[in-house]
Amino acid sequence: MSARSAALAAITLTALAGCVQTELRGTGDLGVIIERAAGRVQIVDTTRETKLGAVEGLGDLSHASVVFSRDGRYAYVFGRDGGLTKVDLLRMRIDVRVVQSGNSIGGAISQDGRLIAAANYTPGGVRVFDAETLELLADIPAAYGDGSQRAKVVGLEDSAGNQFAFSLFEAGQIWVADLSEPRVPKLTKFKDVGRQPYDALVTPDGRYYLAGLFGEDGVAMLDLWHPERGVKRVLAGYGRGEQPLPVYKMPHLEGWAMAGSLAFLPAVGRHEVLVVDTATWREAGRIKVAGQPVFVMARPDGRQVWVNFAFPENEKVQVIDVETQTIVKTLVPGKAVLHMEFTPRGEAVWISARDDSRVLVYDTATLELRSLLLVDNPSGIFFTSRAFRMGL
């Protein structure tokens, strides 16, 4: 290249940079961290282990969850106050925001990425939105009994065929909504699935929907390939009639910890992680842990399971080796550990310590701390790799 053309190229590049203002980048290593008290999210880069910027004005994020558009550019943030905010991760600003209910618990994105469904406590039900505009497409009231009562909706999960499955806490029901015609949802209702389903998950293949029960020992399971077979009870009576211990924070089932043919679930009211053989759906073991487990999450390669705990054991995180089903390390990342998120291929895990206002990044091979980020009262951590996984 001659000196003259090089100079020209440099000028052209400068001019282009002036238009675009930022360098081009992908979104596969981006994520968001909820700052629960500030109504703000931090956008983070998991390669450089750093914060990129913040987006404010998201309302009450005291219980917030996030799903991602399939292009990995937008984060849909579900706030406690019913706010649903579509955040542009590249421009680091709000794209669209609606307040869709009075009290919300979370949501899901459809298989084709075109629909966003929100699970609501008040008024109890599910609302479905256009993922691009957040225009309301369908409203599904969670009416039960004589029809005048509305149940709180929990465990809303996506599955194949643009279906969403969810549970009705007070009613003890599981519903499947087929949204292949988004404005005309077709509902299938399963009654008497068990007392007080509190959260649910779908297996990574989208086949099994499992709702954890608070009001009794057991898990309600629906085979979404064969809904005609109805809801079955698995792990019934895992507490073996013992008086349950008090639960100071509800466990979460979203992070389906599946390693080989084994699945790992938090027991309710027992300081144990339950191991389930997914071929038979029978208990394959139980591992004593430091407290009431809240999140039980498998490293993406399935070799480790990481567990955090409810108050008052919420300073700890325990690492389970899957092959031996033993705890290999008890970490004390900080006060009020609320959430953990693995990087896409699991070489690191990010852990939020709310009361220390920090997020800690651990190396999952050495179990050593590698980075520390200052984040105001952090709770949920969500990476864009969720965009490609069912149920997340």
Binding site: A37, S62, R80, N103, K152, Y198, P312, R354
Partner: protein
């Protein structure tokens, strides 16, 4: 009840000036006086044992940990709202018993291991007035 006992001790110590008078009373009156003095001391202890630092901790506990079910704004979540509006029909004693002992058959756990009765009283009182914010 760690703080109650501490508070009680202080009250008895400060009422030592009354002791000669008490010793002159009949045993029945003495017992009666002692009982009422103790009750009075206990009620003072209840009002006085929640110091400013502990109040700050309790505010955080209620906002963050109770808030995980009742919402950080206390407008409700899986658990019912704890706003003055929502609680105004409920007797304070029942609210205190719920905090300390939980509600069997519901997800509400007992918090008695983490606070004294006086602290539970303080929380109930603040909830009924409109609970303070953390900052």
């Amino acid at each position: 009840m760690r703080n109650d006992a501490g508070g009680l001790l202080i009250q008895i110590n400060t009422s030592r000036a009354w002791l000669p008078h008490v010793l002159c009373m009949s045993s029945f009156h003495r017992a009666l006086w002692l009982v009422s003095a103790l009750l009075f001391a206990a009620s003072l202890a209840a009002a006085q044992t929640v110091g400013a630092a502990r109040q700050k901790e309790l505010v955080r506990l209620v906002r963050q940990d109770c808030g995980s079910c009742h919402g950080m704004t206390l407008n409700g979540g899986l658990g019912p709202p704890l706003t003055p509006q929502a609680l105004k029909q409920k007797p304070a004693e029942g609210l205190k018993a719920t905090i300390l002992g939980g509600r069997p058959g519901t997800p509400m756990p007992p918090w008695g291991a983490f606070m004294t009765e006086a602290e539970a009283d303080w929380i109930v009182n603040e909830l009924l007035k409109g609970f303070p914010n953390e900052r």
